[in-house]
Symmetry: C2
Subunit: 225 residues, 2 copies
C-alpha cells in the first residue's frame, strides 16, 4: 500500500456547537483541534473560519490566526484554506489567499446542494484560480459533479493551473452525486483521462465518511479525509 | 436499425433574427416552421416562445397559439413545451403546462453555462415535475451533467415521475459537458443503470449537432434532434 496523507476538516461550514459541543469554532479552538489531529497522525488541515455567531466567515485575520498557530504548533502540517461558498459572500471567498497557505480548495462548477444551488460562476472560478497561481498555492479541486472535472481541465488549458492539482471527489451531498462505488470508478476513470498527473482523494459526507474512505484506500488514493 | 423520432427545436432561447433571418419568432412563423419540418419527416417539435423584442417569454397565450396551430396543421406531431430557464422568470417556467402539451422539457439540476449559472433549484424541479404529472405530460429530462441523471431518478423514487421518461443528453454547452463520444457512453451506461426503461436522445449544441446525432444513431437512440 502507498503512503497516504490523512487530511482533517476540523470545522467545515455546516455544523454548529449545538450539533456537537466539541466543534472548534474560535481560532484558538481550531489550533488546538488541528494540533490534536496532528499528534494523531494527520498531516493536512482544511480550514473554515467562523464569525462569533458561528456563521461562515471570510475574515483574513481569522484565517491568519489559525494559519499562524498551525505553523507554530504543528511543524510540517499542510495548511489548506477553504474558498467554499456556503454562507459566504462570493466576492470575499478568495480574500485570504494573499496569506499564501500551502493549499486552498477550489470548486470548478455549480451543482444543487440540499437547500441551495451551490453557485460557482466561471468568472469566480477563474479569479480564485488566478489568485492561487499568483500566490503559489496548490489547489484542491472539489468535484461535486462530472462537469467539474472538465472545469479543472479548462483551468489547465487556459494556463491558470498546472496539470498536477490535487482532486477531491465529494460524494453523498444530497441533490449532488450520491455515495456510490460505481460512480467513484467512473469519476476516477475520467480524472485519469483528463488530468493523468493529478493526485486524488474522495470524501463521503456525514454517514458516508467511513465507507467512501474505504473505497478510496482500496484504490490507492493519495489522501483520505 | 430502429425507427427513430426526428425532433426539431425550431426557435430555442438563444438565437435572434440578426443571427439568422429565417428564425421563426412569432407564433405564426413558428407554426409555419413546424409545418415545414413536419412535411420533411419530423414528428416532434420543441417549442420556446418569444416576446416582441425576441427575448424569451413564458406567455401561456403564445404557447397556446403555437400548440393550436401545430395540432391543426401537423396532425400527430408531438408538441413539447420548453420549461427551460434561460432569460425566464423561474416562477413562470411552468405556467403554460396547464395546456397539456404531449411533452415538456425538464432540467433536474444546476450547472454552469457560458455566461450564467443555469439554476434549477430542487424545489423548482419538483414543482415542474408535479405539474407535468398532474397534466399527464411526458417529461423530456435535459441532462447537462451527471448528477442530473440522479435528480431524475429521485423524481421516480418520490413518485413525481414514472420510470419511463424521455432523456436528452445535451453536449457541447460551454462550461457544462463537452461533446465527447466517451462521455456519451459513460452517461448512457449510467442511464441504463438508473432508469433502464427510459428512452433517450442526445443533442450536440451548435457546431456539434451533426456529430452528436451520428453518435446517437450508432447507439440506436430513440430520437435525434
Ligand atoms: Zn470545506
Ligand atoms: Zn495541543
Ligand atoms: Zn429548448
Ligand atoms: Zn405550411
Amino acid at each position: 500500500m502507498n503512503p497516504v496523507v490523512i487530511a482533517v476538516a476540523i470545522t467545515g461550514s455546516v455544523p454548529r456547537k449545538k450539533d456537537n459541543p466539541a466543534l472548534p469554532v474560535s481560532p484558538s479552538e481550531q489550533i488546538e483541534s488541528a494540533h490534536e489531529a496532528y499528534e494523531a497522525g494527520a498531516s493536512l488541515v482544511h480550514i473554515h473560519v467562523r464569525n462569533h455567531d458561528e456563521s461562515p466567515s471570510s475574515s483574513p485575520e481569522k484565517f491568519a490566526d489559525v494559519q499562524d498557530g498551525v505553523v507554530k504548533y504543528c511543524p510540517g502540517m499542510i495548511v489548506q484554506f477553504s474558498t467554499g461558498g456556503r454562507g459566504r459572500d462570493p466576492g470575499l471567498r478568495g480574500s485570504a489567499l494573499y496569506l499564501k497557505p500551502d493549499m486552498a480548495s477550489l470548486s470548478t462548477g455549480s451543482v444543487n446542494f440540499p437547500t441551495i444551488v451551490y453557485e460557482n460562476h466561471t468568472t469566480l472560478v477563474n479569479d480564485l484560480a488566478s489568485r492561487m497561481k499568483h500566490n503559489a498555492i496548490r489547489p484542491e479541486i472539489e468535484i461535486f459533479d462530472l462537469s467539474h472535472l472538465h472545469g479543472a481541465r479548462r483551468l489547465v488549458e487556459s494556463g491558470l493551473m498546472d496539470d498536477r492539482p490535487h482532486v477531491q471527489f465529494v460524494m453523498g451531498v444530497e441533490n449532488a452525486l450520491p455515495a456510490d462505488e460505481r460512480l467513484l470508478d467512473l469519476l476516477l476513470g475520467e480524472l485519469r483521462h483528463l488530468l493523468p498527473k493529478a493526485t486524488w482523494t474522495a470524501a463521503g459526507i456525514g454517514r458516508h465518511q467511513a465507507t467512501v474512505m474505504e473505497w478510496a484506500l482500496r484504490r490507492e488514493a493519495d489522501a483520505v479525509r
